[in-house]
């Protein structure tokens, strides 16, 4: 009974609003745009942060990345004098780190080289990484063909190479290239596998295999190419000795990541006079990204709140005008026997219908906009259930909040005066 009453009231409310289609539509616009922008902003924001979080996860949330950094004074020295600069992580550092903490599950050393490489007639400069088989557990990627490096290869010091998708594309290698020989620098390497490439960046750290073309065993890299790198830059000629460019550490539990990172830093500080390494923690970045996302949501929420407030005030304004215009109708209803609260209910329902309809149209708009953004710019957008329900609930609440005052105003109408009202 009570329910059918509400339904009838809603129907009457809709009929009344349809009498003034243009006015009702214009009144709703504030809420339409308010809700539309909330939904659109939330989904764009959600998409952006999801993308960022995804990339940070690719770095491995359990990982710690220690990189060699050429310190500023070293940089100065190497340009002023033609002398070899020695800096960065050493093989010993790697061994020390690997043994330092029980929480460390596995480590992978990284030695980076740029080498002219050749497969048949094609010559390209490849970024070659010298590492250990652990790498492939630390940075798990699908094997497209062949196999990855194994511990047994390490011992044999076999001249074998695993290409990434990137490197394979550069050299025009296919799965048929497995077993073929490529020349890296001055030496022959047998291709034993091709792995998938990933790309991405978060904050200032790249994912470990960003732009890597080929993997060889660290021992082989040491033996064949040594630790001294020569770079020719605009006439001057730089030589540097770097043993390892990176050490990637995987920790057993996410809770241990930060403590382990601090520990590693302590260990390294003891053996390095210069500040020629940097420890970065993707997890910290992840937390930072989440904090940024929260802040972003607060900003969006405030903007949305303001636009919805403006929409609500617009509705209130029109409803007040409508109450004045319908004074006589209110008087008639009161004379017939409608109670004050029934008048309040009638106008409140009208406002809620108006604001909720606005909310629904706004929702449509808010779903369409991210769709178009994704379609035209390729930016990821995510519609969450909260992102849809919240604006709808809010638009309904706005109807009640801003409808209450005009409705009370309507209920105060004195039937005697209203009926005389011409």
């Amino acid at each position: 009974m009570r329910q059918t009453r509400v339904i009838r009231n809603v129907r009457l409310g809709i009929e009344n609003l349809l009498l003034h289609k243009l006015r009702s539509f214009l009144t709703m616009l504030g809420v339409v745009f308010g809700v539309g922008s909330v939904v659109a902003m939330l989904s764009v924001g959600e998409g952006a942060s999801k993308e960022a979080l995804e990339q940070i996860r690719k770095l491995g949330s359990n990982n710690i990345i220690i990189s060699s950094v050429k310190s500023a004074e070293e940089e100065q020295r190497s340009t002023t004098r033609t002398m070899m600069s020695i800096y960065g992580l050493t093989y010993d550092d790697h061994a020390r780190i690997a043994q330092s903490f029980g929480s460390i599950k596995r480590t992978a050393p990284v030695k980076l080289m740029r080498k002219e490489s050749r497969l048949r007639e094609r010559t390209m400069e490849l970024r070659v990484v010298g590492t250990t088989p652990e790498w492939f557990d630390l940075v798990p990627r699908d094997v497209l063909a062949g196999r990855v490096l194994l511990t047994s290869d390490e011992k044999k010091q076999a001249p074998i190479v695993v290409l990434t998708e990137f490197g394979a594309r550069k050299l025009l290698a296919t799965e048929h290239s497995i077993g073929q020989t490529i020349r890296i620098g001055g030496d022959q390497f047998e291709v034993i596998g091709i792995v998938k490439s990933e790309s991405g960046q978060a904050g200032n750290i790249q994912i470990p295999d960003q732009e890597v073309d080929a993997y060889i065993s660290l021992e082989v890299a040491k033996k064949y190419f040594g630790d001294i790198f020569t770079r020719v830059t605009s006439g001057s000629f730089e030589r540097e000795r770097v043993e390892l460019h990176q050490v990637i550490v995987q920790v057993d539990e996410p809770e241990h990541v930060e403590a382990t990172a601090t520990g590693i830093e302590e260990v390294l500080k003891r053996f390095h006079k210069k500040n020629d390494y940097a420890v970065s923690v993707p997890l910290a970045l992840l937390k930072q990204a989440e904090a940024t996302k929260r802040r972003f949501n607060i900003v969006l929420g405030s903007i949305a709140g303001i636009s919805l407030l403006v929409g609500g005030i617009g509705i209130m304004n029109i409803m007040l005008a409508s109450v004045t215009e319908r004074t006589r109708e209110i008087g008639i209803r009161r004379a017939i026997g409608a109670k004050r609260r029934q008048i309040i209910f009638q106008f409140l329902i009208e406002t809620v219908v108006l604001s909720t309809t606005g909310g629904l149209i706004g929702l449509g708009l808010g779903v369409l906009i991210p769709f178009l953004i994704t379609y035209f710019s390729g930016m990821a957008t995510v519609l969450t259930l909260n992102g849809i329900l919240l604006p709808l609930i809010i638009s309904m609440a706005i109807g009640i909040l801003f409808g209450l005052y005009p409705a009370m105003h309507a209920a105060k109408v004195d039937p005697i005066i209203a009926l005389r009202h011409e």
């Binding site: 009929e15 009498l19 008639i332 017939i336 026997g337 409608a338 029934q342």
Partner: protein, 237 residues
């Protein structure tokens, strides 16, 4: 408070005891009703007459539970209702009273049917029963074929018939008519008055405010007011 005097025999439908209604007009107090004692019997047809400012409209508003007395007592069917609150008075209007106005006071955006159904809506009737009742009433006042028209599509006489149908829809004890023919030509006015007389003959109590003597002739009792007081009462034979 002194016990009210005897509310009278049960055939009385309304009784005013020392009814006073005072308005503040600037610094001056205006006594729209200056201590009126009167009782209307059930089934009567009263015309309240008098020049403007005589208090006849106030009388009507008080009797119609639209306004409250400043002092004095008002018995409706033997019950003192002079101290009831707004909600209770609304309830009384809804259940026991019907109203007809000079300017018809139909809701323009509602169809004839919806206008007639309006009291039933507030009484909580379901849609099917309400529609049936509205149809019957519209047929009674000769507008069975106009149910889905808007009031603006009707003539004045037709609009007043719709208003009468609406006033009847809750089967009221008393019908209040405020200058029911004031906006109608004399021919249509006569038709409306004949309709009201017919309703009275069928047992409805009618209280009408008018200043036209020929219209007042339809009533069986005429109450003349002057300066918030009863001047004289005429009874038709």
């Amino acid at each position: 408070m002194i016990e009210p005097s005897d509310p009278g025999p049960q055939t009385e439908i309304v009784r005013l005891n020392k009814a006073v209604k005072t308005y503040q007009m600037g610094t001056q107090e205006v006594h729209a009703l200056a201590g009126i004692d009167i009782a209307f019997e059930k089934g009567g047809f009263w015309a309240i007459m008098g020049p403007s400012g005589s208090g006849k409209s106030t009388m009507m508003n008080v009797l119609g539970c639209l306004d409250r007395l400043t002092s004095g007592l008002y018995y409706l069917e033997g019950q003192d209702i002079s101290r009831l609150d707004d909600d209770a008075l609304s309830e009384l209007r809804l259940k026991y009273l019907g109203f007809i106005f000079q300017s018809f006071n139909l809701i323009p955006q509602l169809s004839v049917q919806r206008n007639i159904e309006l009291p039933l809506y507030y009484l909580g009737w379901d849609a099917i029963r309400s529609a049936q009742r509205a149809r019957e009433l519209a047929e009674d006042v000769g507008l069975g074929d106009r149910l889905h028209h808007r009031p603006t599509e009707l003539s004045g006489g037709q609009m007043q018939r719709v208003a009468i149908a609406r006033a009847l829809s809750n089967d009221p004890q008393i019908i209040f008519a405020d200058e029911p023919t004031g906006n109608l030509d004399s021919h249509t006015g006569v038709q409306i008055m004949e309709l009201l007389a017919k309703l009275n003959a069928a047992g409805k109590t009618i209280v009408m405010v008018t200043h036209e003597p020929n219209i007042a002739q339809y009533a069986r009792s005429r109450l003349h007011m002057i300066d918030g007081q009863i001047d004289r009462i005429e009874e038709s034979s």
